[in-house]
Amino acid sequence: MSVDTGTAGGAAAPAAHAPPGRFELAPIAGVLAREWALYRRSWKPTTFAAVVEPILMLLAFGVGLGSLVGAIRGYDYIHFLGTGIVATSVLFTSMFPGLIDTYVRRVFQHTYDGMLAAPVDVRELVTGEASWIACKSGVYGCAPLLVAIGFGLPASWAMLLVPVITFVTGFGFALTGIWMSAAVPSIKTMDYIISGVITPLFLIAGTFFPIETLPPWAQVAAKINPLYHCVELVRGTAFGTDVATAAGHFAALAAFIVVVWCLAVFQMRRKLID
């Protein structure tokens, strides 16, 4: 094999100039570049699953159950549900990839070993992976809202904030998934997380029914559930809310992100660096 001449360090490697230990954006761009290349191959099935499932759920429950329920809090059930299913869609499209894709890449594909040998640190890797998942669920999460608008939910300017809400929520749950993917001892134990964590998260969040109908302890649980705050924010954009309440919900999501970011980085570091 031969090498073209004149390559001997002539064009020096682009060095990382930031002082050691600093959090940089370049590695995140690198992680996102890989995700984009992969997404270009897989966007069709990914998009189908992420859009069609919540829409089917919305139609089945909204139209079917809606004819029995009528109205909740004075809103058409399909409008109430459509705003709530935005949140479940975000949960599913962020936590599952965070949990399963991250596990497969770390354990079976050794992808992260290759990335960490490049100038990428674990916290940048985790942030990059979670950002990409959040982008996807941020966009896909809007689909049920559009369907609800198609069923007569009045569109409002505030709804333009929904992608921001879904991105932030997706970021938090992607980090939760990444953290748990690194905490489980084996891929089998993920069943505990899927049934024991994801299902309650999505049921006790006020998506299908208002949490006021729940027993008091469950209402407390719902308020700790970050997904509840996402639901309330999305409903706020559709049905109106005051700024202070919205800020409170947003602060809850921000606090959630800080906690799960630290947990995800800590746990992934334990698994990736001996």
């Binding site: 094999m1 073209d4 490697a13 050691p20 230990g21 290349a37």
Partner: protein
């Protein structure tokens, strides 16, 4: 961990060189034809490093890495001179892969000091990683992506400036002899093509240092030779290559300098031919062991003549066969002569086999 700028003096019983000095000094003395006892833990810059006057590309001092009660790397001292192909040879479990992982800070030493391209590791490891290319032992190509996309992803991860990315990908494609199939998906590549892609993927940013962890493990001999050409080409570019291997032939053919590792330490290091001359002699003779023959009795006679023998399957290999005295020759007869190799050196020094 280590303090930057502070170099701990070698511990007792661990002289970094025969004279106890650890600087790039006057160690270009000719290799002495002495027994294995003098060459424990040779670390300080030796002939090759001192001559060029440049700092070593990689420097390890008293590096220790434990996993629970198991000590994988046990007080390792190593200097890899810039611009050389350096072979790390040893059996599985000798600590080669752990050493490689510590160089990229993917494994953290329990004690000792590591410097890679003048950057202290792990503290400034990211700066070091930006200037080095790593070829992992486990194939981790993105199967769904094409050859070109696999390379493009790494131009981003290695921060090749946007204007140079296309050129970097083209260069890597040529280097890997994959220029005619850039759009083939990685899962459609043959074993040899995959490995070539895996190697050049770590070269897209023109690193000054390349780490190859068992680059040809599991490949058939023909493909292995093909990859040797690629590694030789890197040397011609002035790139420093640190390669771990447990293939004797690979180390002998490719490495300018080899370090033999066993049980987490460097047993000896040097130019392969010199190590062979020193420990195995120019000729080794193999004597077939007939069934029922007293191998240990023959070994005792050889030892009595001051020579070393080792069992090599169904034969007994006598090192330094040109020194067999006539008296012994009469009783042994004449075996089949072969050239000495690093395996002879390794077994002589450690009593273990490499492969």
């Amino acid at each position: 961990m280590s303090l930057p700028g502070h170099r701990p003096s070698p511990g007792p019983g661990e002289p970094s060189g025969p004279d106890g000095s650890d600087g790039p000094s006057d160690r270009s003395q000719p290799v002495r034809a002495t027994g294995p006892d003098v060459e424990r833990a040779v670390g300080a810059p030796s002939a090759d490093g001192a001559e060029t006057g440049t700092a070593p590309a990689i420097r390890l001092r008293n590096v220790v890495k434990r996993f629970g009660s198991f000590t994988a790397v046990d007080g390792l001292n190593l200097d890899v001179p810039a611009g050389t192909v350096f072979g790390l040879l040893g059996p599985n479990g000798a600590g080669k892969s752990t050493t490689m992982k510590m160089l990229t800070a993917q494994s953290r030493a329990d004690s000792g000091e590591i410097t890679v391209l003048d950057h202290p590791v792990p503290r400034a490891s990211k700066l070091a990683r930006a200037e080095m290319g790593v070829v992992p032992q486990h194939d981790n190509l993105d199967e769904e992506l094409t050859v070109r996309e696999n390379l493009e992803v790494f131009t981003h991860l290695y921060r090749v400036p946007r204007a140079r990315r296309a050129e970097a990908v083209e260069r890597a494609l040529h280097l890997a002899h994959l220029a005619d199939r850039p759009d083939l998906r990685a899962d459609k590549l043959s074993g040899g093509m995959r490995r070539r892609l895996l190697i050049v993927r770590g070269l897209v940013h023109r690193p000054r240092l390349v780490l190859l962890d068992e680059p040809t493990v599991g490949l058939d001999p023909q493909v292995r030779q093909e990859l040797w050409g690629l590694i030789t080409a890197l040397r011609a570019e002035g790139v420093t290559v640190l390669m771990s291997t447990h293939y004797i032939e690979e180390a002998e053919r490719l490495a300018d300098v080899v370090a033999l590792m066993a049980k987490g330490r460097v047993v000896t290091r040097g130019v392969p031919a010199e190590l062979i001359a020193r420990y195995a002699g120019s000729t080794v003779e193999e004597f077939p062991l007939e069934p029922g023959s007293r191998a240990d009795e023959i070994e005792a006679r050889i030892a009595a003549a001051g020579l070393t023998a080792r069992r090599t399957g169904a034969t007994l290999s006598v090192l330094r066969a040109d020194e067999i005295p006539d008296s012994l020759r009469d009783s042994l007869g004449r075996g089949s002569a072969r050239a000495g190799n690093l395996e002879d050196v390794f077994v002589t020094l450690t009593g273990e086999r490499v492969e």
